[in-house]
């Protein structure tokens, strides 16, 4: 059994981080340059970490599979970033942001981590403003805010509908500065394919150059993974096509525990699926719910009518009806499930019946079209490009889609996994969002981890490692890891079966969506756990990967990622099966209240499930880290 010590500091909640910063060991400036740190990934968490660690004086190597760090998928986040600045004087505070996040996560995250996140949120905004991020401003020149789901204050900072882009470009500029200064060695088009563990500590990685196929070994004093989430296990999602689980999955197979893999976020407002050829789903920012009203016809027979011909009295603004206090701004898991319910009742709209209206006519009447255009113009443009419909004139049609994974590698309070020396940041870890993430909190967490947590906590680990003690990349563990990477690549290319990789990715996605999506049942999950091993077996027998390993080979890249996704899918279903409760995005139909709300089981499941790899073909071990609530009372989430 893995040893899971959360290392939450003692003392009152609000003092833990401040006191912990004093208690942690420091590395003196002259010694910092003797340590090498590998950072994998260059999204918000990776680039902010790489830049900041380099500023501190560590030697940093940054590996990204993209052609430039600026392409990481943080770039696509639209709506905003939360911070407890209380610039609006509307009653916000660190405690309120902490409380909203804990409650939004349905009481399945750690209090201490979330409080720290809320504390440093204010520093993030300062940092980004100093980098020149062009946040939205009021006429007086001060920062503007808007509201996001699960909160009753306006604490979301934004840059039009491109907040993630601007924050990432800020972090990328900081990273670029350090690359230019020679403090970060940047390896683009370089995909991590294995973690190297020496004497129980993470000491390096094996990397494939995606352009030349060259495989190289890199040693370091510590390894930081900031490789994002694994929502592409569903094939169709709002993720970029390249987003994958490979780095964290290979780390899992080297001993890092995978926590709450079944906790996935289905975002309520995405453009519905149109056909089998589809490669991706596009999000319509949650910020649209500030002004858009969600509805379906009251009667199923009206669902194919022109929406303009459906009288006000015949419309069901179901979120406003079911959750009057939060209305259209209730949390994502709740809004998604409500959409599923009305579609299951036969009231869904559009060709497939899997859609609901997001209607701006009231807002256009109230504010005028120019004001709506100013706030959301780029989103309306995207909607038009994809659907060929003008949302200023007809309501948008939207449907939930996979958007984020709250689960990820298990980390302690210092963001270190159970493998010493392996740190995991951002969406790749499990730490802060519990069973459901609130809108505008992913950007906050990525930057909190990279700018303000890892720079302190990594020193506490490195101070225990003698300078210059890192192993050579010529060691046996490194060579063994390289051999296993080569073996997998050769095996994939040798199959020469009858189906392209996409065939298996689509089938995997359908199994996951049907049985491990918005609603899960024991029966469905058990069926998935029969179908997935069969799919895995067929994949390894019948996939066709063309080309060679010695050049750019996009089919080969995707094949290895899909192979990992199929294995991860099994773990997700197993986790969902064993968690006999409903909480946040994890909805087990057997566990619900009569009104259809999640029925948590705080007696048996108020814990983190951290899965431990037990070897190929062996059942993984389920470890539990109890969640102890000292400040907040666990209660039924109420947004009514």
């Amino acid at each position: 059994m893995a040893k899971l010590e959360s290392k939450i500091p003692p003392g009152p909640l609000a003092d833990k981080w401040r006191k912990h910063k004093l208690d942690m060991k420091l590395v003196n400036p002259a010694n910092k340059r003797k340590y090498e740190v590998i950072v994998v990934g260059a999204g918000l968490a990776g680039s902010s970490a790489a830049a900041t660690l380099a500023e501190l004086g560590y030697k940093v190597k940054n590996f990204v599979f993209h052609d430039s760090p600026r392409r990481a998928h943080s770039i696509a986040a639209q709506g905003g970033i939360n911070a407890a600045k209380n610039y609006q004087n509307d009653g916000d505070s660190v405690y309120r942001l902490f409380y909203d996040t804990i409650k939004g996560g349905d009481y399945r995250s750690r209090e201490a981590n979330v409080h720290r996140l809320a504390e440093v949120s204010v520093n993030i905004i300062d940092q980004c403003a100093a980098q020149g991020v062009p946040f939205a401003r009021e006429y007086g020149g001060l920062l503007a805010n808007r509201s996001f789901g699960g909160a009753q204050v306006s604490r979301t900072f934004y840059a039009r509908g491109q907040t993630g882009q601007q924050l990432l470009l800020g972090a990328y500029s900081a990273l670029s500065r350090m690359v230019g200064a020679g403090a970060v060695e940047l390896h683009t088009q370089s995909e991590m394919l294995d973690l190297v563990v020496v004497d129980g500590h993470a000491k390096g990685i094996v990397v494939r150059n995606l352009l030349t196929g060259e495989i190289t070994r890199h040693s370091a004093d510590a390894v930081v993974l900031a490789t994002g989430g694994y929502g592409n296990v569903f094939n169709l999602s709002t993720y970029a096509r390249g987003s994958n689980t490979t780095a964290i999955w290979r780390a899992y197979k080297r001993g890092a525990c995978f926590a709450n893999p079944c906790f996935t976020q289905i975002h309520p407002t995405c453009i519905p699926v149109t056909g089998d050829y589809q490669s991706k789903l596009t999000l319509m920012s949650e910020s649209l719910r500030n002004d858009g009203r969600i509805w379906v016809p009251k009667r199923a027979e009206d669902r194919r009518k022109d929406p303009a011909a459906i009288a006000e009295a015949d419309r069901d603004y179901y979120l406003e009806r079911m959750y009057p206090a939060f209305g259209n701004l209730c949390p994502r898991d709740i809004a998604s499930r409500a959409a599923k319910r009305v579609c299951d009742e036969g009231r869904g709209v559009g060709e497939t019946g899997l859609g609901v209206y997001l209607d701006f006519s009231e807002a256009i009447g109230r504010l005028g079209e120019p004001a709506v255009r100013e706030r959301y113009g780029n989103l309306f443009d995207i909607y038009h490009e994809i659907t060929n419909e003008n949302a200023y004139q007809v309501p948008m049609r939207i449907f939930p889609a996979v958007h984020y994974t709250m689960g990820g590698l298990w980390v302690d309070y210092n963001l270190m996994s159970n493998v010493p020396g392996l740190f995991v940041l951002g969406e790749a870890n499990f730490s802060d969002h519990g069973a459901n993430r609130l809108g505008a909190s992913a950007l906050m967490q990525g930057l909190a981890d990279g700018y303000f947590v890892i720079p302190y906590t990594i020193g506490d680990y490195l101070a225990t490692q003698k300078p210059g003690s890192r192993p050579s990349a010529e060691g046996a563990e490194f060579k063994a890891a390289e051999a296993s990477v080569r073996a997998m690549t050769d095996r994939l290319l040798a199959i020469k079966g009858k189906e392209p990789v996409s065939h298996y990715h689509k089938r995997l996605g359908r199994i996951m969506w049907d049985y491990c999506g918005m609603a899960r049942t024991r029966e469905g999950l058990e069926r998935a756990l029969v179908e997935l091993p069969a799919l895995r077996e067929e994949f390894w027998r019948n996939v066709h990967v063309p080309g060679s390993a010695a050049t750019l080979n996009q089919s080969l890249e995707r094949a290895a990622r899909v192979a990992d996704f199929i294995e991860l899918g099994e773990l997700m279903c197993l986790d969902a099966l064993k968690r006999e409760e409903s909480c946040g995005g994890h909805f087990r139909e057997e566990h619900q209240y009569p009104d259809g709300e999640c029925k948590r089981d705080d007696v048996d499941f108020a814990h983190v499930a951290a899965w431990e790899f037990a070897g190929a073909g062996q059942a993984p071990v389920r470890n539990a880290e109890p969640l102890v609530y000292e400040s907040v009372k666990m209660s039924v989430r109420n947004y009514k």
Partner: protein, 269 residues
């Protein structure tokens, strides 16, 4: 208006640049793409073609892509001679097959820019843009040293204009559209964004000189004010920013020259 009824599938011919590797000679090859749906994206059409090639035992067409929502800047196709295809203000990945009709011949090429060498088929190497950024495309703000975000107000008009420039996605279409393969719009966007913000003032001169010098050194051509760059830009970044870049560059050159004179003739007065 309810969703339209199922559209009729159609067929186009693709004339695609195939090149096995860097520095090798390439050629156009024709492929027929059948059973297309107008709601497919251009890249989804290529996915379908690639799956067919794979099953026929041929190597699929390599093309760069990632987010498929027009923001990451990875996709970089030249479609019928136009970077990012027929429509203004969208990236290749946001081009839909409804823009084409049955029987069309569609020519697909990589960017033709000396500073962006072809890696394979339609994929080019754009690290030159990262090099320009590393030379000066930043505001030095050490983590942890920032004042309160509201301590420095920024007029809304200035922030909005900075944002207009800052939304550059770094795709390189500007250079691909330019007959001189100039990167001026890319550099102008970053120089303008950072130079407009009050936080960007201390490094303003140094930034513009370093970025322009690096751009020139990487083999990009000069700007001759044709503005094809803005027309091809998926974010419609205005060529007015190029004027701003030129002004900043001239001012910075003078000021730097004067500082040198002052330093030479100086001494403690």
């Amino acid at each position: 208006m309810v969703a339209a009824s199922t559209p009729a599938p159609f067929t186009v011919t693709l004339r695609v640049w195939r090149q096995a590797g860097p520095g090798q000679s390439g050629a156009f090859v024709d492929y027929v793409a059948k059973d297309l749906n107008p709601d497919m994206s251009f890249l989804e059409m290529l996915d379908v073609v690639n799956d067919e090639l794979t099953l026929k035992g041929e190597e699929p067409i390599a093309f760069a892509h990632d987010c498929r929502e027009g923001i990451c800047g990875t996709c970089s196709l030249v479609i019928d001679g136009k970077p990012h295809g027929p429509h203004r203000g969208v990236a290749s990945c946001q081009t839909y097959m409804r823009s084409f009709k049955n029987g069309d011949l569609i020519v697909i090429e990589p960017y033709r820019v000396r500073a962006f060498p072809v890696i394979k088929d339609l994929v080019t190497d754009r690290t030159a843009f990262d090099s320009i950024q590393q030379a000066g495309g930043f505001i030095t703000a050490r983590t942890g040293a920032a004042p309160d975000a509201n301590a420095i107000p920024v007029a809304k008009g200035v922030a909005d204009l900075a944002m207009d420039a800052a939304q550059c996605i770094g795709c390189g279409a500007c250079a691909a559209a330019c007959k001189n393969a100039s990167a001026m719009l890319f550099v102008a966007a970053k120089v303008s964004h950072l130079g407009l913000m009050p936080q960007g003032q201390p490094e303003r001169d140094r930034r513009v000189l370093a970025m322009v010098q690096t751009m020139d050194g990487l083999g990009f051509g000069s700007c001759t004010n044709q503005y094809e760059c803005s027309a091809a830009c998926p974010k419609l970044i205005s060529h007015d920013f190029i004027s701003r870049l030129n002004r900043d560059y001239v001012k910075a050159s003078f000021r730097t020259a004067l500082e040198t004179v002052a330093a030479d003739g100086g001494g403690e007065g």
